[in-house]
Symmetry: D2
Subunit: 210 residues, 4 copies
């Protein structure tokens, strides 16, 4: 699995302050460090729409189709995903769940099945079945590359939902990587998300209004 | 495959007129038949937001996970989908693409693989692998039930995209069924979509503004 | 001010259950009263997307342009609003804030100004200025009729934001009327919103997850 | 009126190509100039979702409340707007429609009324009426500063709607300025919008699919 930050709003925290102060016409309060206080205030007060002016785009390599099917339910995001209608999948890679990897016999069953799936796909293609139909035999575990853009308010929402203990492990693992990257790039916006390294979860330490 | 209309706005065309005439405060023009003329006018003029006041909810049974992954990309819709984290899939049904069904040898390869997939899923479950991990072996062709709600403007958009010749056959087949049902329930709103029975496609005969 | 429920999903709570049980394929648990327990469970668990399958449409008469400008910021809603480009506003009605109404002198200032505004509008129209330009003199207090559709999840969000003490009085007054109507029509979905009649506010008594 | 580009995705056309080629895994086709051809292809084919990965943020100074009320109807955008609840408007500026400016008598009527409005606002404030209530006398023509973020697909949609001859002159004037700026910053994405300098309109010269 590889998470690559493809793009991020330049100097995002200053942009958020610059945009957000429009509501109050309080531009005279801008100083070199004022964005931190401003952002903490709007997050605490639940005035999150201001965070929408900044955004970030990630490439996710090595996530499964199971993950992407969950991910694309986030309707505020923008997605460009590897198409099984256009890309030949004869050499697909696949994700192995940890529970399977830790059980040698399950691992063998799983690996054997993935090989069968690849063979079946090839046989169908060889018989002239189109990729868009042959893909019906591709398992959920098959890797599917995806590029995801979202604004910072939506990234916060995603982290809230997907870094929690209740989230499925794969999407949580990916969300945790993204959170760590955004914590570096926009530290104030994401500072309230406290990471539990052991459990690989994160949650906002703030009691946010509404 | 089975498409069931679960719910639709009562008397949707009159509601659209009643809401839309608010823009002009032209309620005095409402008569028993005036909604047809009004709806034709707003569609022709590209004033489609008025169509959003009416909506419809469908249950789709017998669509594949490949279909649902495409469908949930429509961000204006609302979805409730069978969860492979919660539902045991040991007895899954699956979709057979026509191109496969028409080729006896491909059919046999396909059917055999689906049986292997089911067996593999069962073996993993039997070894104590959780459903959310065992589902990684479930193929795209596995059936997944889904309920979809959208407003009429979005249904028009879906039909425009998914009833076209360029759409993938499965989502087109499902969209065509929905279109036929909505053409009965709200004939004026969908009347410009001309159905080509032979090709199983549909397209708006209108040159709509903007 | 008058709030009219123009349309609502028929039997909305049963539809929500019917749609939501798709996730678990637990249709066998449906009984005559089961929707209440089901809806309480999904609201408590933060599984609010299921509430999106039901929706309601209101007509609001007698709200000001100040109110509508706030209201149309809710991006999940659909709106049809009286257009100041098309409707002649020579006889406009206007909203009087309570604080103004309670102060006889302020009332007189306010009323006199509204009359001046009406006169100015008429003078400009009489000189051949188009409605879309003459409207620049119309005050925020001018009434503007609007029809609003939203799904139940969004209505809950609107009530959370707009029935709170922090909301502006006009939008709160309107939201409170809508909440009371929806509490009758879909009692379980909105039951956690506790109304404070004295303060004319409402807030969810639940600590909702995520 | 002043339109300031506050922020834009760095190297937006290359990002669009980089994201969009994920669908086909055709990264090997990327060269120094390939983004132009790629973007032309996706626009021509109606594959506009790829354009969503890039975005731009504008500050608009000197637009009226009439303009902002129209603008915030664009639901895919993010907005931060000068609040009449928080900002004292005793010294408000206002927009003068051209039709008014060209007619000396209308101009005088208009200017006199704006002065009355300012006086009335001050009188109400002086009597202890809160800003959020005094604002009811502020005309639509009062200036309201706003910051607007949107992705490129949405900017294209806005230009299509708001640069057309049918659009209201003020929003068209503002949209035209934005279009000119984005044509410089992302020339391929907006190249099909042909500007008619004389009429101050623009329209896509492409017949775009679906």
């Amino acid at each position: 699995m590889e998470i690559i930050l493809l793009s991020i709003t330049p100097d995002p925290e200053r942009l958020i302050e610059e945009a957000g102060r429009t509501c109050y016409l309080s531009f005279d309060k801008i100083s070199n460090e004022s964005h931190r206080k401003f952002i903490r205030m709007i997050i605490k007060n639940g005035h999150h729409s201001v965070l929408e002016h900044a955004s970030a785009t990630f490439r996710v390599k090595g996530g499964s189709r199971g993950f992407t099917h969950q991910m694309v339910r986030h309707r505020i995001c923008s997605f460009s995903q590897q198409s099984q209608r256009y890309v030949n999948e004869e050499d697909f890679s696949f994700v192995v769940p940890e529970a399977v990897a830790l059980d040698p016999e399950a691992s063998e069953i799983y690996g054997r099945f993935m090989a069968q799936s690849r063979e079946t796909y090839k046989e169908l293609i060889a018989r002239g079945i189109k990729k868009e139909d042959a893909r019906f035999v591709l398992p959920q575990g098959v890797e599917s590359e995806i590029v995801i853009s979202a604004n910072f308010r939506e990234w916060r929402h995603i982290f809230q939902e997907r870094c929690s203990k209740a989230a499925q492990w794969e999407i949580r693992k990916i969300a945790m990587e993204m959170l760590k990257i955004l914590k570096e790039k926009a530290p104030t916006v994401f500072e309230d998300f406290i990471i539990n390294e052991e459990a690989n979860t994160a949650a906002s330490g703030l009691k946010i209004q509404s």
